[in-house]
Amino acid sequence: MKYIPTIGIECHVQLCTKTKLFSEVDNDARGKEPNSCVSPVDYALPGMLPRLNGEAIRLAILAGRAMNCKINASSRFDRKHYFYPDSPKGFQITQFYHPIIGEGYVDLPSGNRVRIEHAHLEGDAGKLTHFDTYSLVDLNRVDTPLIEIVSMPDIHSAKDAHDYCKALWRLMCFAGVTNGDLYNGNMRFDVNVSIAPEGSDKLGTRAEVKNLNSFRSVERAVEYEIKRQSKLLDAGEKVVQETRGWSDATGETTGQRSKEEAKDYRYMPEPDIPPINLTQEFIDAESAKLPLMPKDYREKFAGIIADDTLEVLLDYPSLMGKLGEVDTRYVKNLSNLFASVLLAEEKSAEYLNDLPTAMELSELCEMNDKKELSSTATKEVFLRLFDPQMKGRGAKNIAKELGLIQENDLGALEAIVDTVLAKPETKKAQEDYRNGEMKVIGFLVGQVMKESHGKANPSAVQEILKKKLA
């Protein structure tokens, strides 16, 4: 039988605030010792009370606006109770009843629109690492601010599921609310999949695949679930409502625990944090800080950057940011340098962490425009701009140091051409050219380039040669 899949996705996004959601310790635990970014509040000593990080509220507003969502003027926190060593308080502080982000939508490349049901702020849990006979607890991640984005079940293919996650990732990165490092769990996806016979107006029983951390695994897990559930239904069996885990290695999902025995979280209003009441002025002012989003860049650079190049670059919000900063006349050149030189470079990941300034990049493009740099020299100087040892010296200085500036001074070039033409070893070529063997001009240009130690602008040299030999 033919089945129509229906998919809803919950996405957790770690916000890149300086400090944690409810305490004043460092939120960025990258490269730090386990349990070194933990305050007495996160550790849940007796008598500790949560504070509230205003920066997280501001980032939540940006995240909401990036997804075209309504921002709720009044929101509040609730406690969600469960016992596990990753939760020192014995509850998670979340927004169960009154989330800060209301309804919105995300548009996919397929033209389909996925509605956002809501998104709420909450604290992350700690991390457990299990060994044979013991487990280690690291509380560095406790109460890192998260927003959980809950979609409506508007997705009907594995491809759209993939694209939705990627679209969310781009939106969150462009909005600047997360570091967006999927490998380190900055964004995690829970995917609810059900299937129903074509034409049926009822949804099937769903299975939830939890904790996916790449777009590819979202797509593969959905494909797998559709196949698995179809097989069950074809065989006259039932899909069990349950949580399933995904293994990238086996490419399969496996059942974890069924929802029937699901825990009762005993939600309760958080009495230690008063409701958050935002004025419309505040919401508007913060919303206005939303940087350009992918759709804005598509409009802005339509006809300037080739579509396929633009789609590649849209995965690099910081590069798009630079393109937004430089003068429009340099955008095309610079986008090509980004796409075909920088991203092809072995060290590109490292280089992306610390980009040259828009001024340095503009200077480079200007030199190329003025033909002071050949295209080869432009690429070379471009890469040096990213080189930590060359940092901050500027395109012009680097080009000079490397002796890459082209000689464009026509008078000086003519003198060099004359010198070359006076040399006996070029006489034969000159004669051949005059006799109609046009391609020998390449040899002559090469001789001039050699004489100029590579600094001459070859096209200018060619023009002069043509005139002289006419």
């Binding site: 000593l45 009370l49 949560p50 109770h81 016992f83 020192p88 308080k89 939600y267 009495p271 944090i273």
Partner: protein
Amino acid sequence: MKIANKTVTATQLVKDALDKAKHFADYNIFTYVNEEGALKKAAEIDAKIARGEEVGRLAGVPFAMKDNFLSPEGETTASAHILEGFTSPITATAIEKLEKEGAIMIGRTNMDAFAHGSSTENSYFGPTLNSHDRERVSGGSSGGSAVAVALDIVEFATGTDTGGSIRQPASFNGVYGLKPTYGTISRYGVVAMASSTDCVGFFTKTPDDMNLLMEVASGQDPKDLTTLPDYYNESEAKKVKKIGIIKDFDNESVDAEIRQALKTKCEDLKAKGCEIVELEMPALKYALAAYYIIVPAEIASNLSRYDGVRYGFRSEDSANLEDLYPNTRSEGFMPENKRRIMIGNFVLSSGFYDAYFLKAAKARTLIVNEYLEAFSKCDAILTPVAPNPAFKLGEKVNDPVSMYLEDVMSVPLNLAGVPGLTIPAGETASGLPIGLQLVGPRRSDKTLIEFSKELM
């Protein structure tokens, strides 16, 4: 209160307090006596005085601290087995403020474990005896603190009041006890019972001492988002002319001598030109029921962190995590703690939330409104604190409901967030202290303290 100066040294004040603490050791007032630490601090203050340096408003004043305040001195256990061995790296904001003014903590006082109780009999360390009758309870949950002040061991003691835990033991021992307006004193560093009703307050021997302590300890704290902007030091005591009395509290279930004490006070006030207003407050009859839903819910939640994983007591023979939690909590909590955790989890569980917790929250709103209404008709309300004077040890231990009824006249204030001050009002024929409770609108704490002087 006696404050250290050139003639009376802090060391002498602290030594006297420590001697008295030893003398009354069999009352089981203290869970920890801070002898070394207190004498060291006293010496520092004396040195300052000798050098002519400025010392605080509470220089060298010995005080007793309820065992649910965090400080690095002694173990902070809230008189609960499950916190055994826990030494805090942090000092509660309220204690920090007192110590900054030179007050010296000489000991941690006994309490019902996690402040669950009205008699201090739920303490892991056994009950504290009443200051006037050793066969009777000290009241609770801040029993140790009340007795420490009543027996004149210290000048004042800290307490917490979630449903009467300062006012009732104050009345059982004949001292002043204030539950301030919710949010007046920071709760940071105080072992939480029920976050939305917990209040830090004091036991003193005089209204003036109470006023001074409030000046020192009140104020907004960035570490407690529920603290109010500072109003205490900026507010003026208002003249109280109209006194409300609650008709429903004048019934057979309240001890006759207590009702008589209330009547006598009312006559005194009339003679002084005050007007007595009879109030109908029908919503108050829901207060105890609402309280014993909301508060256990918050208790169940706040006690979730005591799991044996990170600090305090951990059950020894647990093969795995699934055993560690129930074993630690079964052995570490007192029966009353468990009772409240179970009630709390029940009223929060899926399917019951609307019927219990939400309904109680609505009743709470009615009670808040009823107080607003009442204070449009009078300046302050005078009521009994508890239906009876101190009862016998063991009398109510096996009857939780009769123990909860102890709180019937004290919990409405906590639900409404309004202040209440216990004032001594004579003794029964058999010599037990009687206390009455002055209640005012939110932020009228100073008015109540000033007015209590007229009721001496």
